[in-house]
Amino acid sequence: MTEQQFHEPSPLAVAPPGSEGLIEPGLPADPSELTYAYGLEIEARSQWDYARRRFFRHRLALGSLILLLAIFGCGLFANFIAPYTYQQINLNALSQKPSSKHIFGTDSAGRDSFSRVLYGIRTSARVGVLVGVLSTLIGTIIGGLAGFYGGWIDNLLMRLTDLFLTLPLLAVLLVAAKYLGHSTPLKLALLLAALIWTQIARVVRGSFLSLREKEYVEAARAAGAGDLRIMLRHMIPNTVGPIVVSATLTIGTAILLEAVLSFLGFGIEPPTPALGALLSEGQDQGLDKWWLVTFPGVVIVVIVLCINFIGDGLRDALDPTQRRVRA
């Protein structure tokens, strides 16, 4: 059991003063000490090594990670990669079908759709990552406090999650976004984070509720560890798997929600390019120009698909109760 858990330094193993360099129990200071009599070398591996190995074995997840980094990279460096700027008008190339010159075609103002999609990826990726980071922070703190102490924080959290079971999230988001008015990517990200952190909070709360009763938490407490130390050193590291997985999936959810809000006209407004706003513009320009609504949508699907696969891979990799990989 203990060897399967994440790196769990026992509070009893705190090194006495002046003993720097002394070995921690279980981890040899010098791997060569572990050399067996018949000369087989054994390297010390942390749980992170195992997690990384398990993730890299998951070929679909690894491929998705590479593809996602490539797509996000294209968005991030859009001003270097994109052949045109996102509002460069070309009156000689109005509403053109995809060709070698404009691989995603052009819109009715002659703007290059490929360049606009690249800039749109940048906006969507920013919103997604920001929402992922923010809602993970808020969710972990509130979920952790709710799971550890219970009380009014726990009550509030559970009532909030109940509310989202009776009201569609999209409707609540639309009402809030409407009254916030014209959105910048930052404002929209804050709004999304303010409403979807409850999902991560629930995960952390559930995990903390069960970890609270574990023997090693009791042992830490007996050794005199304070609440904060128990949470930071013992409970958070053991919840890292679920937290990382939900944070990843939250990025995908945020990108989908950003797209739908911008599409309906309650999110990011033109001229800021966002994938949802591009789809809305494409729809306004007539559905006979199929390329304008096809490519931005395909990009959204591919991004979210990659994120979901990465989430699956992380779930398998970060679950320390999983059978270890050989290798």
Binding site: L279, G297, N308
Partner: protein, 325 residues
Amino acid sequence: MLTFIIRRILYSIPVLVATSFLIFTFVSITGDPLGRLRARPDITAQQIQSIAHSKNLDKPVIIRYGYWVRDAVTKQFGTTLFGNRKIWPDLKRVIGHTLQFILSAIIISVLLGVAIGVYSALRQYSLFDYAATTISFIGFATPVFWLALMLQVLMVQIFLKWHVRIFYTSGLSSPTGAGHGFHFLIDRIQHLALPVIALCALSTAVYSRFMRASMLEVLNSDYVRTARAKGLVERRVIMRHAFRNALIPLVTVVAIDFGGLFAGAIVTETIFTLDGMGYYFINSLFASDPYPVMAWLMVVATMVILFNLIADILYGVFDPRIRYD
């Protein structure tokens, strides 16, 4: 059983009251309903004051909540802030259309999802299973609004190429008159087909994945082994022992998904300009009118609570292991 139902209904009442209070405070604190009027130069502060007074907007939130509840109960949600239009007749009409739309989506996705899920489980790791898995993963990543757009694009391309109109891309009925009886039905199906497909896709993916997992679990259970051991033919083992038990937990999944379908309706009805609840909601939001928005949220919350109540009761009917007292 009866006491359970009564207890469950009684429990729904405080939930509904709490939800109504949350909806009211949420919509009230997120914005100034008269902001649009204040921005207009041709309306004086005096006029705004009198509108605010007549709608009780100059009172504290908690008192306004009281007035709102009174209006909701005795005057069927009262009237809109702008134009004093009665809310309930409009809302009643769109509820009818949307229920037609959502219920047909639920029925189709349950039938399809169950069929695909069960077949995948029975032929685990077959080509069909892999194909279904792949398609449902793509389904999870596809935004409903984009699917709706692509279906429209497809119809437009077919029309441009072959000049045939299989399904319509907007509205509930043909503007030239839908006809009667059979013709009306065909016309309605031609209009509803694309929105229903768009709305069904995600639910079908969810249900089929769930059904596959549920079926696999049941197939490995002891009572299925017992059924096989006593010599039943495989068909009977699957239909009577495995399938019926695997179906039970799907009830909960469908109930939880029900609220999400309203979100899907907002998107699909807007794209296909269907005169339903979602379209009504978006239009009320664009008009910055808080009263129809609150009425809408209240109706949806009531329906979701009601649907969950039905699901709980059905669960008890289907699963005799559940005791209610």
